[in-house]
């Protein structure tokens, strides 16, 4: 779980904090990343998804179909040039709804990670710095408990106890998510704190705050960013699973999981199921490919 670019057992002792390897050689990193065709495919799909989600009202052929819209005359049409992915059982264009659903899925991923990552990273840093004190023990044992149960089950349990809204679904997922970052950062922080540049900073009287946030944190960031890139896909997956059960965004707001479940109830219109399902797979796959590319680029071993 460490960066190979950093001095490990090398004889040369560096008393200066290494520059964050991500920003340091941006050009070289980009070259490495772009050499892998799979990572590039992932990046392109991710960009297409993000851009189409942002500009959904302008690029979708039927933006009004994302809201409360009913047109029984054109219900259940198979895919055609007018409706790329067909229409659903009440006549809404599925392609437009998928693009709008990407919006919800991405917002969910951003909010969940924005809640979970800072919390997890902060707790991991603190526990790693105060190793073998009661604070470390308390934080890491709580982390173990949260990692002791599959996220989907915990997120479901929390989401059903709260009211079924998008915000509550996001809170439920965040509650299950921070612990992974705590464990990741804890592992890194507890090895980095023994590096000479940290000890040197400590010796010249730098404050705990400075050591934590200026010396240790920047050196934990590359794996954290890589994990974020990978996790966007997994948050979309859990969000879709919750949506499939009717938790999360409520109709008529389109959500990927909920569209799949609608399709399952109208099994004669196969396009109602297949295209939202493909959209979920595509989203998860592209973020995975991009995250893998980042990981290879930064030469990080996550597991």
């Amino acid at each position: 779980m460490r960066n190979s670019n950093q001095p490990n057992n090398s004889i040369a002792i560096s008393l200066v904090r290494p520059k964050s390897i991500f920003w340091h050689n941006l050009g070289k990193n980009w070259y490495k990343f772009s050499r892998n065709p799979l990572s590039m495919i992932g990046l392109v799909i991710v960009l297409v998804i993000i851009i189409s989600a942002i500009f959904a009202p302008w690029i979708t052929p039927y933006p009004e179909h994302a809201g409360p819209f009913v047109d029984f005359e054109s219900a259940g049409q198979p895919p055609s040039l007018q409706h790329l992915c067909g229409t659903d059982n009440i006549g809404r264009d599925i392609f437009s709804r998928i693009i709008f659903a990407f919006r919800g899925a991405l917002i969910m991923a951003v909010v969940v990670l924005a809640l979970a990552v800072p919390l997890g990273v902060l707790l991991g840093l603190i526990a790693g710095q105060l190793q073998n004190t009661w604070i470390d023990i308390v934080i890491m044992r709580i982390t173990d408990v949260f990692l002791g149960i599959p996220s989907l089950i915990l997120a479901l349990a929390i989401a059903v106890v709260l009211k079924p809204t998008l915000m509550n679904a996001m809170i439920a997922i965040s509650v299950t998510w921070w612990a992974w970052y705590t464990r990741l950062v804890y592992g890194m922080a507890s090895s980095i704190r023994n590096e000479y540049f940290v000890i040197a900073a400590d010796l010249i009287g730098a404050s705990k705050f400075h050591i934590l946030f200026r010396e240790i944190l920047p050196n934990c960031l590359s794996p954290v960013f890589t994990k974020i890139a990978l996790d966007v896909g997994w948050v979309i997956l859990i969000g879709a699973a919750l949506g499939f059960l009717g938790l999360g965004a409520q109709p008529p707001t389109p959500a990927l999981g909920q569209m799949v479940s609608d399709g399952a109830n109208n099994i004669t219109f196969w396009w109602m199921t297949v295209f939202p399902a493909l959209a979920i797979v595509l989203a998860i796959m592209s973020f995975n490919l991009m995250g893998d590319g980042l990981r290879d680029m930064l030469e990080i071993r996550m597991e």
Partner: protein, 342 residues
Amino acid sequence: MKLSSFLLKRLLHSIFVIFGLSIMIFIIARVVPGDPARLALGPRAPEEVVQRLRQEMYLDKPLPEQYFYWIKGVLSGDFGRSLFTKRAVSEDIKESFSATMELVIFAGILMVIFAVLLGILAARYKDAWVDNLIRTLSYFGVAIPAFVAAIIFMLLFGCYWPILPVLGRLSPGISLPTKITGLLTLDSLIEGNFVAFWDAFKHLILPSVALSLGPLFQEARIARSSMVENMRKDFLFAERGYGISERVIMFKYLLKPSLIPMVSVMGLDLSALFSAAFLVEMIFNWPGISRYGTNVMLHKDLNGISAVTIVLGAVFVVVNVIVDIIVAFLDPRIRLGTNQGI
């Protein structure tokens, strides 16, 4: 660190995790909802009935005392009454647990066999078309959530190409084998009832394939990359130098150390099977604990929710301990206690 002390430490740790889980679930099911009795009975129940349930659930006592009564019940196998099925939750769980076990065990077997097979193939023909095909497939496969696969199977086999049954564990009209292990396939085999075995087996295929698809490809990827990494190790050159045949090297010397990282991820993957089963069982109408779990969750049955989460959490922890033990036995560095890093 010696193996015995490693195991002891692992065991104590898992007991602690289960204890922590129980507190967390208690908070989710008893504290977060505000008034569980009111939630259980619905807004229209008369106040005195709610009051009686409150007393029955010890909700009038302070929180630590409530937890004490609750955990006492849980430890003696009493999870209270399910408001969804109107029966004791422990009965419901006992009945449905074996169905889930059958599904997860079968999916786990599928996962291991195919992951090792694909991993070996990809590593053996590294960078040839076989490898590229398997790698492309696995990028796609990892990204397919189990419930999406289940829905697609449902659509394909339930509607357009009905060659495999898509609902339940057994076709109507086929007699249930006597309950020995609770696993229908095993029970019917023990009885010698091959008709029931074949039927139960056919019912198992689609749900377990849907479940194992994602973890399978993930494991295959790990198997491939660890084999490729080990192929560069010096001990392989030495063995080649001794003139040991490629086949023996492949299976005897390369496979075993390469399986270790796979097995250690398997703990996570097995628990992923349990959690993915939540939606898959519902889709295939598989009468297991996860379908029960989804039902109690959607009906806000708090006793059911806390029971299902704590049982699955405990299973998860136990599975991970077992996997750790297997890794310890596979890896001589841990078994012989020469690795100080553990």
